[in-house]
Symmetry: C2
Subunit: 160 residues, 2 copies
Amino acid sequence: MTAVPALSHTQVAESDRAAVQVWLDECAAAWVTQDAERMFRMATDDVEWVNIVGMHWRGQAQVVAVHDLYLNTMFKGVPMSLKSIESIRSVGSDVVIAVVRWSIGQFSPPDGSTVPAADDRMTLVFRRTPAGLQLVHGANVQINAVAEQFDPSNGPPRPN
Amino acid sequence: MTAVPALSHTQVAESDRAAVQVWLDECAAAWVTQDAERMFRMATDDVEWVNIVGMHWRGQAQVVAVHDLYLNTMFKGVPMSLKSIESIRSVGSDVVIAVVRWSIGQFSPPDGSTVPAADDRMTLVFRRTPAGLQLVHGANVQINAVAEQFDPSNGPPRPN
């Protein structure tokens, strides 16, 4: 009989890890094909999303609509790739939280600014359902590469 | 017999709303008193935190240590106040997600930059425990006030 490993930062059920990877693969494919409906197909009706500039969208219809707009304008042709799944945790019986890191190319939002290529750190909260993991919440933070060198959890600063 | 209201964007058990408010009050008090241990007293051992520049900290000891450093340096004396609880949702039986908006005064991080006063939109994921709601994950996004005017969910842009 094989012991069931405890769920922790580094150990999580393989089925959860696989399901998160499927979600991320779909997200990446939806980005390239500019298909917001596909991006949030595995999401609950009440999914919420906080983007890198702090906009807060509520409900699948709104989350899909704003992503549809952005995927077909400022993100069109902009490269995006997954760098790593940094953390996956089970929370109780119903929820899985993942933290993942993406790389995004330069883009130009409607406010007229230019956002240089950068990495984003995305928190994804999933609910277990009979149909598999469904996204209930996303929060995306742009990684400040200068500040990152001063992250106290990495020890003394390493300036350029 | 009173019908139990469905949990949705705007309706959530009053006890959950009260517990989130207690957590936020403690967070605000801990900020003023520079007490990182207090800030994460109602957090699980495996709590994770993603801050506004995308640093990712794991586990209560690390999350407390980095906040202890920052509360006693760059955040010391910087005003912070809660503007609103924007969303509270139950997810399954074990989890509550809140999105809250804070105002933070100007501060100067160790990288030598100056961060102007701004609002932050914070995602907080709590687990139900016998001791009440315990934080399992925080992700904090700085609200870009210029971009906010172009939030497509608010209708046509309202430039200054």
